[in-house]
C-alpha cells in the first residue's frame, strides 16, 4: 500500500503537538505548559508518571493534579498506552529521525531488551522516593525537548543532540524502545488497552515488510508467527506503520478484546 495514511495522520498529530507546545511563544493561549503538565482549552492535563513522582518525592498531594493524571492515563489506556510514544511524544519523533540517520552512517547494533523500560520505571520510583526529587523530570529528554521548544533552553538541545548520537551509533531507538520509564509506564497501561492491532493471518503473504518498519519488531513477529488475531503487547506504540506498509491489508487497527491473544 503506497498511500501511507496512518503515518501521515500521525505526523500531523506529532507536529501538532510540537505546535501546541510552542503556541504560547506565538502569543496563543489555548495551550499552556508542557507534556509534564499542561492545560488545553482549560482542561488540565498531567503526566501520570510526573504525578506519581511528586507524591513519592515530596508527599504533596494535589488532588486536581492526580485526577487529571488519572484522566490522562485513562485516555492513553483507551488508545493503547504507548500511543503516547508513537503519536504524541516529541522524543519519539526525534528517534524516528535517528532511525533515518542510521541509514546514512555506520550504525551501532547493540540490543537491549524492551522490558528494561519497566525496570527503569521502578528505578525512577526508587530514586525519586529516596532523593526527594522527581528524578525523571530532571533527566527526562521529553522534559528537555518540550522545555527547549517552549522556553528556548539551548543547553537542553545539546543533551538531545547527544541522545541522537547515542541512538545512531550505539543502538537503534535505544531510548524509546528500551530505556524510557514513561514508555515503560505506558507499556504497562497498553497491555490492557482496547485499541490494538488486528492481524488477519489469512491475508498475510509473509513478505516481512511490517517487521522491517516496526520499531518493536520483537513483539510483532511472534504474534505474526503464531497467527494470533491481535497484537496485545504493551510495547506496541500503535504507530500504524505496519498497517500502512502491509500490501495485503492483513494488519488493521481494531477496538476491543479478542480471546485469542498472542504473546504479551
Amino acid at each position: 500500500m503506497n498511500f501511507r495514511r496512518w503515518t501521515i495522520i500521525r505526523r500531523l498529530v506529532q507536529v501538532g503537538v510540537l505546535g501546541l507546545i510552542a503556541s504560547p511563544l506565538a502569543g496563543f493561549s489555548f495551550f499552556q505548559g508542557s507534556l509534564a503538565a499542561g492545560e488545553l482549552l482549560g482542561i488540565p492535563l498531567a503526566d501520570p508518571l510526573a504525578a506519581l513522582q511528586v507524591v513519592l518525592a515530596s508527599g504533596v498531594v494535589a488532588s486536581a493534579f492526580l485526577l487529571s493524571a488519572l484522566g490522562v492515563t485513562l485516555f492513553y489506556w483507551l488508545l493503547g498506552g504507548r500511543f503516547f510514544c508513537g503519536w504524541v511524544c516529541p522524543v519519539y519523533l526525534l528517534t524516528e529521525l535517528g532511525d533515518k540517520l542510521r541509514l546514512l552512517i555506520p550504525a551501532g547494533k547493540l540490543e537491549i531488551p524492551l522490558k528494561t523500560k519497566g525496570w527503569m520505571l521502578l528505578a525512577v520510583a526508587c530514586i525519586t522516593a529516596l532523593s526527594g526529587v522527581p528524578f525523571f523530570e530532571i533527566v527526562s529528554p521529553i522534559g528537555m525537548t518540550t522545555r527547549a521548544i517552549a522556553f528556548d533552553g539551548r543547553s537542553a538541545l545539546l543533551c538531545l543532540a547527544g541522545l541522537l548520537l547515542v541512538e545512531v551509533t550505539l543502538a537503534r531507538r535505544l531510548w524509546c524502545r528500551s530505556l524510557c520509564p514513561l514508555g515503560g509506564f505506558y507499556a504497562l497501561v497498553g497491555r490492557v488497552a482496547p485499541l490494538r492491532l488486528r492481524f488477519q493471518p489469512a491475508r498475510c503473504s509473509s513478505c516481512g515488510d511490517c517487521s522491517r518498519v516496526c520499531p518493536v519488531a520483537e513483539v510483532l513477529v511472534p504474534s505474526l508467527d503464531h497467527g494470533t488475531e491481535q497484537i496485545r503487547s504493551g510495547d506496541c506504540t500503535r504507530c500504524g506503520r505496519c498497517v500502512d506498509c502491509c500490501p495485503e491489508g492483513a494488519l488493521t487497527y481494531c477496538f476491543g478484546y479478542s480471546d485469542q491473544g498472542g504473546p504479551r
Binding site: 508542557s34 503538565a37 528505578a123 522527581p134 522534559g143 537542553a156 543533551c159
Partner: protein, 221 residues
C-alpha cells in the same frame, strides 16, 4: 503449555537476569551517581528566588515537575527556568530579581497555574507571599544610609511603609540633615525583589535572601 513455550519463558528469564536486571541496576547506579553531584551543586548555588507561593526549597524541588506553566503565566516574564547548570534544579522556575523581579500580581497567576502544588494554592494574597527577605547587605555603599536622598528601594516597595519603612535619624556630618534609612521588616517583606532591581548602585546593596528561620526565646522584646 508446550515445550517450545516453556523454552521461550526460560530463555526470557535468563535474558531477564542477564539484560533486564543487570542493565537497569547499572543504569540506576549511574543515575544515582549523576544525581548526587548535581544535588550538591544545587546546594552550593545557594538561594534561588522561587516564584510566589513556592514550598520550602527541599519540598519544592520534590513537588515541581518542571512543566514551565508558571513561566507562561507570568505577565512580566520574570519567571525563568533553570538550565542544566542548575543541577538537580534543572527546569525549575526561578527569578533573577535584579533583571526582572516579581511584580506581585494581585491574582497571582503563577500560583494558579501550578498543577502540582509546588506553588501553594493556599497563598491567595500578595501579602502572604514569602519568597525571601530583602536585606541591605552593603550599608557602606547604601546612598540613603550615607545621608543622600535616595530611598529608591523604599519608594518602589509594593508594601511601602510595611515591608520597608524609613527610620529617620540625625546626620551628624552636616548637622542639619536627616539620614533616612530604609529598614526592611522581615515579618512583612514578601521577597519580591523589586527593591533589588531598583537599587541604583552598580551592585545592588539591597538583595533578596533566604528568609532566616525564627529562633525562639522567652523575651518579648
Amino acid at each position: 503449555m508446550s515445550g517450545a513455550e516453556e523454552e521461550t519463558k526460560r530463555v526470557s528469564r535468563r535474558h531477564f537476569l542477564k539484560g533486564s536486571l543487570a542493565l537497569p541496576l547499572a543504569l540506576t547506579v549511574a543515575g544515582g551517581l549523576l544525581t548526587v553531584p548535581s544535588l550538591r551543586r544545587a546546594d552550593a548555588r545557594g538561594f534561588y528566588l522561587r516564584p510566589p507561593g513556592a514550598l520550602a526549597e527541599k519540598c519544592f524541588l520534590g513537588a515541581c515537575i518542571r512543566c514551565g506553566k508558571c513561566v507562561q503565566a507570568c505577565p512580566y516574564r520574570a519567571i525563568r527556568l533553570a538550565e542544566t547548570d542548575a543541577g538537580v534544579a534543572i527546569g525549575t522556575p526561578f527569578i533573577i530579581a535584579r533583571e526582572e523581579p516579581c511584580q506581585l500580581c494581585t491574582d497571582l497567576p503563577c500560583i494558579k497555574s501550578c498543577p502540582s502544588g509546588a506553588l501553594d494554592k493556599g497563598v491567595t494574597e500578595v501579602e502572604k507571599v514569602r519568597m525571601g527577605t530583602a536585606v541591605i547587605i552593603d550599608r557602606e555603599n547604601c546612598l540613603s544610609i550615607r545621608g543622600l536622598r535616595c530611598e529608591v528601594c523604599y519608594r518602589n516597595c509594593p508594601l511601602i511603609d510595611r515591608a520597608i519603612t524609613i527610620e529617620p535619624r540625625h546626620n551628624p556630618r552636616t548637622g542639619v540633615h536627616t539620614i533616612m534609612e530604609p529598614v526592611v521588616h522581615r515579618d512583612k517583606c514578601v521577597g519580591c525583589g523589586i527593591c533589588e532591581k531598583s537599587c541604583v548602585r552598580e551592585q545592588p546593596v539591597i538583595v533578596v535572601q533566604r528568609t532566616p528561620l525564627p529562633q525562639q526565646d522567652a523575651y518579648e522584646f
